[in-house]
């Protein structure tokens, strides 16, 4: 399972959003895309998911161009986890997760025993089977996000694309979601996420892609990319860096604060 973006460029009218972006995510890798607001992270995610199609370049999943896949075929390879999911109607958790099994069914079918098993195993993989009969609107932000991840797992894909999956969550839930994501990668899932938190991407990622002005500023292992200079450059701040616990953790502090 792999996902590859080859020199992708995207322009909105005459305004260039992304320019010559390439990335490669192999099996079991967690890749974080960082960059300031409006740099094109979400646009890149949308291109990867084929929600935007008028880009230049190629997106390949397992070597196949996504533009030549059916909606169903792509959904059985790549799943999407948005920043926040808010269905208008108050479905039960089981209903939501069962929606994920859509690519395993014919057009006129509805979930049968096999799909219910897929949904249950997705829930139990995340340890939330007991939430099955609860109503989505009554869940906390963190619980909702876990349910949406379960829905993605029920799709049967091994590639998860997450658009700022933790940015609406409290500190504890941010860490819990990222730990789950990390554990999934250790099981062989491939995750591409964009994030606003360089410290988290340092702790949890295998690879970091830093974007600036629609281009790749730096790409590589977290400890290579996330230097004080790069982070300062991305966000336009004057920072100083602390390396903690044998450089397992890095934190950046504004100079004005110290």
């Amino acid at each position: 399972m792999s996902i590859e973006v080859k020199s992708l460029s995207y322009a909105y009218g005459k305004r260039e959003i992304l320019n010559d972006i390439s990335l490669n995510a192999g099996e079991g890798e967690l890749i974080s895309i960082i960059g300031k607001n409006g740099v094109g992270k979400s646009t890149l995610i949308k291109c990867i998911l084929r929600l935007l199609t008028n880009y230049k370049g190629e997106v390949l999943v397992n070597g196949h161009n996504t533009k030549r896949m059916s909606v169903m075929a792509l959904a059985s390879l790549v799943a999407y986890i948005p920043q926040e999911s808010s269905p208008v109607f108050n479905f039960t958790v089981e209903d939501i997760v069962l929606m994920g099994t859509c690519p395993t069914m014919g057009y006129l079918r509805s979930p049968a025993k096999y799909q219910k098993e897929l949904a249950m195993s997705a829930l139990s993989k995340l340890g939330i089977e007991d939430m099955k009969n609860r109503y989505f609107h009554q869940l906390s932000g963190g619980e909702k996000q876990l349910v949406i991840i379960a829905k993605a797992l029920a799709q049967g894909t091994k590639i998860l694309i997450m658009d700022e999956p933790t940015s609406n969550l409290d500190f504890g839930n941010q860490i819990r979601i990222l730990e789950r994501a990390r554990a999934l990668c250790n099981e062989g899932y491939t995750i591409v996420q964009c994030t606003h938190n360089p410290e988290h991407s340092y702790m949890f990622s295998d690879k970091v892609i830093a974007l600036k002005e629609g281009r790749i500023l730096s790409v590589g292992k977290p400890h290579e990319v996330l230097s004080c200079d790069v982070v300062s450059d991305i966000y336009g701040l004057e920072l100083c860096e602390s390396k903690l616990y044998d450089d397992k953790v890095r934190t950046w502090i504004p100079k004005s604060a110290v």
Binding site: A75, F89, N90, M99, Y107, N133
Partner: protein, 349 residues
């Protein structure tokens, strides 16, 4: 939360869902039976049985019912019953569908101008003195035309697809209403104006077998895809991006559902005139009873919407000397129910 009937679905899910469906079906059968029996010529259940057997070609029932009863049953009550049921079922299923595809619980079947279009078609037909059959046909065609126009108009909009549809629906709807007002203004005030006004109030007085035969086809064409695709339609309520990445071709599914729901609405309003509230309220009531999953919600809305309309029709023809137009009764019943639903703390909406 305790008094919420939706709690029934928890735990042992499907058993109680099917129990609810059985209760709704039983309710429907009782309503249907009552509505053929009630009326100026009382008909008993046994006589209905004999009449049906007689029609099916079994002989020997000649003395069991009167000729008047036979006429009342086959030519007055049956078409009326069928039309009332189909109109209620169609408006409820269409309302449910529109609410899902517009991701908006406030959407109703006339959101794209289907009702206003039908009203204009009927007004034009009455103004030009068309026959009652042509009034139905014109209402049907104008209704479809109004929705088609809204759809085409929305394609030119730069805003979000769903919002664009709602906006263009409002535009086309109010244009049609203006058209109706103009025709009312120029229509002959002694007989045309009253019949336009009466048509717009919604009524199935004098429903004929030919009308039932006319609407049954668009209704079948409308109901079939919605029933077949109903589980998949759930996914549309997550929004386009999530629907597509879950394997649903959102634009195509929305288009098909929109088309089917529009056929249902157009067929319903073309025979019944403007009947509000049903398409909005019945789906909400059913969501409280059976939950939001369209797999169960759509059939439940079909059954209960039909029963509700048959009930309302019985009510409107038996409560007063002159029949009260259905649109008025549905508003008097629908508005308080809706008020009740939205003021309750809830979990299933």
């Amino acid at each position: 939360m305790n008094q919420n009937p939706i709690e029934l679905n928890n735990g042992n899910g499907k058993i109680s869902v099917s129990a609810i469906m059985w209760i709704l079906t039983a309710l429907l059968l009782v309503t249907l039976l009552l509505s053929v029996c009630l009326g100026r010529y009382p008909i008993g259940a046994g006589e209905i049985f004999y009449m049906v057997m007689d029609r099916l070609g079994f002989g020997g029932f000649d003395g069991s019912f009167s000729h008047q009863q036979e006429l009342a049953f086959w030519n007055v009550r049956m078409p009326r019953l069928i039309i009332a049921f189909l109109v209620g079922a169609a408006l409820s299923v269409a309302g449910c569908t529109y609410q899902t595809i517009f991701q908006n619980p406030m959407a109703s079947p006339d959101i794209l101008g289907a009702s206003s279009g039908a009203g204009l078609g009927a007004a034009v037909a009455i103004y030009f003195g068309f026959s009652s059959w042509s009034i139905t046909a014109m209402a049907f065609m104008f209704s479809l035309a109004a929705v088609t126009l809204s759809y085409i108009l929305s394609l030119y909009s730069k805003s979000d697809r769903i919002l664009a549809l709602v906006f263009s629906g409002i535009v086309i709807g109010s244009l049609c209403k203006a058209g109706v007002s103009y025709i009312k203004l120029v229509a002959d005030p002694t007989n045309q104006l009253p019949s336009i006004t009466y048509w717009l109030m919604g009524s199935i007085v004098g429903a004929k077998n030919s009308e039932a035969a006319f609407i049954i086809w668009p209704m079948l064409i409308g109901f079939t895809p919605l029933m077949l695709l109903r589980w998949r339609m759930n996914i549309l309520s997550l929004g386009d991006a999530e629907a597509k990445t879950t394997g649903v071709n959102a634009e195509r599914l929305r288009f098909v559902s929109l088309l089917a729901a529009t056929l249902l609405t157009a067929a319903a309003v073309s025979v019944s005139g403007l009947i509000g509230w049903v398409g909005l309220v019945i789906p909400h009531m059913m969501r409280r009873v059976i939950g939001v999953n369209l797999k169960y919600l759509l059939p439940a809305s079909f059954i209960f919407g039909g029963s509700f309309m048959v009930f309302v029709d019985n009510f409107s023809r038996s409560v007063a000397k002159t029949e009260i137009p259905l649109g008025i009764v549905t508003a008097f019943i629908g508005a308080p129910i809706f008020m009740y639903i939205i003021t309750r703390r809830r979990s299933g909406q």
